[in-house]
């Protein structure tokens, strides 16, 4: 059996996410971030942010809505029972702050087979309402027994 690679290069429509102060606080608490810039607008502004910034890994919150449809796309054909999240990369640009609207577009960057495993690599590019890139994510999912 071999990996179906037709979906390589497939592009999904952008998904928008509006960033809110309380969601940032909820995420920051869950991951143990206690820097006051994540909770206090005055401290955030004093540190040079437009508003309360999101921790870098908050990228998963606003980008997931765009990456999800690719993971579940029958054209991609991931066998979920056999899938593990193998690797992840984020490269950050402009900080994301409360009040921003982030638009994320995902593409199927690559699908290939190696050592009997299928590798499904997605790339997400997130931009803010000013058109500035805020993060570029590379999501690698590995499926055993393809």
């Amino acid at each position: 059996m071999s990996v179906k690679t037709d979906a390589r290069g497939k592009v999904y429509p952008p998904v928008e996410y509006e960033v809110g102060k309380e969601k940032i606080a909820e995420y920051a608490r869950a991951v143990g971030e206690d820097n006051p810039v994540y909770f206090d607008r005055e401290q955030a502004r004093a540190a040079g942010f437009r508003d309360i910034p999101a921790p870098p890994m908050f990228a998963v919150v606003y980008a997931m809505g765009s990456v999800g449809p690719g993971l579940f796309d029958p054209d991609v054909g991931i066998d979920f029972a056999m899938m593990v999240h193998g690797g992840q990369e984020f490269a950050w640009g402009e900080p994301v702050c409360s009040g921003d609207t982030i638009s994320t577009a995902t593409t199927v960057k690559d699908i290939f087979e190696k050592d009997g495993k299928g590798f499904y690599v997605f790339e997400s590019v997130s931009t803010n309402q000013l058109g500035q890139e805020v993060v570029r994510g590379t999501w690698t999912n590995i499926v055993r027994g393809v």
């Binding site: 919150v61 193998g86 984020f90 590379t138």
Partner: protein, 126 residues
């Protein structure tokens, strides 16, 4: 620069992270379901563990989230709640004004994140 962080996620941490992140996969929050699919127990979200690596890096850089420019990780093994996780790392080299660090996350001597590479910008930070 040295990177060092220890955290013991409590029993209900995966539930809080599920709510915060939107990832409610039952292998993370339902011990019985996890066992039915062959896992020892419910497991930590990999992206939660990656967030600990990110936090360890920004903390070592002085706390400013803007210091973390890039982070790449490989997920290996499984992380569990109620077990201490340690994140350790050290500088590999400086390149174009950025500092590259190698980082791993472990639980009980087993790596759950390996080959993590972070690129930090330490310029202009106190």
């Amino acid at each position: 620069m040295d990177i060092e962080l220890s955290v013991t996620p409590d029993k209900y941490l995966p539930h809080r992270y599920a709510g915060a992140s939107g990832d409610f996969n039952p292998i993370h929050i339902d011990p019985q379901f996890a066992q039915e699919v062959g896992l020892p127990s419910n497991i930590l979200h990999g992206l939660y563990s990656m967030a600990q690596v990110a936090r360890a890096c920004t903390t070592a850089a002085g706390g400013d989230p803007r210091s973390l420019r890039r982070l790449s990780v490989q997920f290996r093994g499984m992380g569990f709640p109620e077990h201490e996780m340690t994140v350790t790392g050290s500088k590999r080299e400086s390149r174009n004004g950025h500092t590259l660090v190698d980082v791993v996350a472990e639980q009980g001597g087993k790596q759950i994140i390996r080959n993590a590479e972070a690129e930090l910008d330490l310029r202009g930070l106190a």
